[in-house]
C-alpha cells in the first residue's frame, strides 16, 4: 500500500464529502422554507422520468453490440421483463422472471 492509515482515512472522507455534497446541495440551495424558483419546480417535475430513462441506459453501458454476445442476452431479458410487466403488472414477478432468463442465457446459452 502506498498510503498510510491517515491518508487512507482522508481519501475516504473526501469521497464521503463529495458524495454528500451531490446529495445535499439541492436541498441546501433550495431550502423548504423559501419558495423554490419556477424553473427548478419545473425541473423537479420533469426530471424523474428523464433520469429513470438515464438509469435504464446506464445499465447497458458495458454492453458491446459488436463483440461477444452482441447484447442479445440483455435485450431478450429486457423484452421478457417488459412483456411480464405489461401482462401481469407484478413488480417482483417481472424482475425475477427477467433475471432468471438473463442468468440462464449468460450461463448456458451465450
Amino acid at each position: 500500500m502506498t498510503m498510510n492509515l491517515t491518508q487512507q482515512i482522508i481519501t475516504i472522507a473526501m469521497v464521503v464529502l463529495g458524495t454528500m455534497l451531490t446529495r445535499f446541495l439541492p436541498f441546501i440551495v433550495f431550502p423548504s422554507g423559501k419558495p423554490t424558483p419556477n424553473y427548478v419546480q419545473y425541473l423537479g417535475k420533469m426530471l424523474p422520468s428523464a433520469v429513470i430513462g438515464l438509469l435504464v441506459i446506464y445499465c447497458f453501458k458495458d454492453v458491446n453490440l459488436l463483440y461477444g454476445s452482441h447484447g442479445f442476452p440483455e435485450f431478450i431479458a429486457v423484452a421478457v421483463v417488459a412483456f411480464l410487466h405489461f401482462w401481469k403488472k407484478k413488480m417482483l414477478l417481472s424482475i425475477a422472471g427477467g433475471t432468471i432468463v438473463y442468468m440462464v442465457l449468460v450461463q448456458l446459452v451465450f
Binding site: 502506498t2 481519501t11 430513462g53 438515464l54 438509469l55 447497458f60 453501458k61 429486457v78
Partner: protein
C-alpha cells in the same frame, strides 16, 4: 399521538415499504458481496468495505474509491472525481425537493441515503393514503442501506470462501429500473421527459462511451428540458 399508536404507524409503514425493496435486497446483497470480495482481493481487511459501504453508500463510487486507495495520496483528486461520478445525485435532489418536504429530522437521513434505487422507488411509488409517507420513504432508504452494508460485510469477511454460480444476478438492478420506467410511463399522460431521457442518454452513450456518458447526458437533458419548457407549458393546462 400515543406511543402505541405511533409504533403501529411505523410498523405499518415498514411492512408497506418492505415488498418494494425485495428486488433491491437481491441486487444489493449480491453486488455488496462482489464489492467485499473485490476489496478483499486488493488486500483490504473487512473493516474497509464495511465502513465504506456505511458512509459512502454509492455503489459505483465505492469501487472507484478502492482504486483511489491504491494510488498515491491526492485528496483533491478524490473529491473532484467523486463529484463527477455522483453528479447525477443533483438531479435526484431536485426531483425530491417537493416530495421530501416537511419530513422533519428523518429527511436528513433520507437525503444521506438518496441512492439510485431509493430515488427511483420513492419518486415513482404511490404511497397508499392510510400509510405515513415520510416513514414509508424513510424505511425504503434504511432497508436499501442495510442490504448494501450486509452484502459488503459478507463479501469482506467471507471473501475468499464464496464460490457459487451467480453470473448474471446483477441483472436484477437493470430489471428493476426497466419496471420502474414502465410504471412511470404508464402513469404519465405525456412522454416528452421520458423520451428525452432515454434518447439523449442513448445518443451520449454511443458518442462518449460507457465511462464518460453520464455528464454529457445530464447536460443534454437539462438543455433540452429547458428548451421545450415554453412550448410544453403552452399546451399544458393542468396546474399541478
Amino acid at each position: 399521538m400515543t406511543d402505541v399508536n405511533k409504533r403501529n404507524q411505523l410498523w405499518i409503514a415498514f411492512r408497506a415499504a418492505f415488498p418494494f425493496t425485495v428486488p433491491i435486497f437481491a441486487g444489493f446483497v449480491f453486488l455488496g458481496i462482489a464489492y467485499g470480495i473485490f476489496m478483499h482481493s486488493l488486500g483490504f481487511s473487512a473493516i474497509y468495505p464495511i465502513l465504506m459501504s456505511l458512509t459512502i453508500f454509492a455503489g459505483s463510487m465505492e469501487f472507484v474509491a478502492a482504486n483511489l486507495l491504491l494510488i498515491s495520496f491526492n485528496p483533491l483528486n478524490a473529491l473532484f472525481l467523486t463529484l463527477m461520478v455522483n453528479a447525477r445525485h443533483l438531479f435526484y435532489g431536485i426531483s425530491m425537493l417537493e416530495k421530501y418536504r416537511g419530513f422533519g429530522k428523518k429527511k436528513l437521513y433520507m437525503i444521506f441515503g438518496l441512492c439510485d434505487e431509493s430515488f427511483s422507488i420513492n419518486c415513482t411509488v404511490d404511497v397508499p393514503k392510510n400509510i405515513d409517507k415520510g416513514w414509508f420513504m424513510f424505511f425504503v432508504t434504511l432497508l436499501n442501506h442495510t442490504y448494501w452494508v450486509i452484502g459488503a460485510t459478507i463479501g469482506g469477511v467471507f471473501g475468499s470462501l464464496v464460490k457459487f454460480r451467480t453470473e448474471g444476478l446483477d441483472f436484477v438492478m437493470t430489471a428493476l429500473f426497466v419496471v420502474i420506467f414502465i410504471e412511470q410511463w404508464m402513469k404519465e399522460k405525456k412522454h416528452h421527459s421520458a423520451l428525452v431521457g432515454l434518447g439523449l442518454s442513448t445518443a451520449c452513450l454511443i458518442i462518449f462511451g460507457g465511462n464518460n456518458f453520464i455528464l454529457p447526458a445530464m447536460i443534454a437533458i437539462l438543455g433540452v428540458l429547458t428548451l421545450i419548457r415554453k412550448p410544453l407549458e403552452k399546451v399544458e393546462v393542468s396546474p399541478t
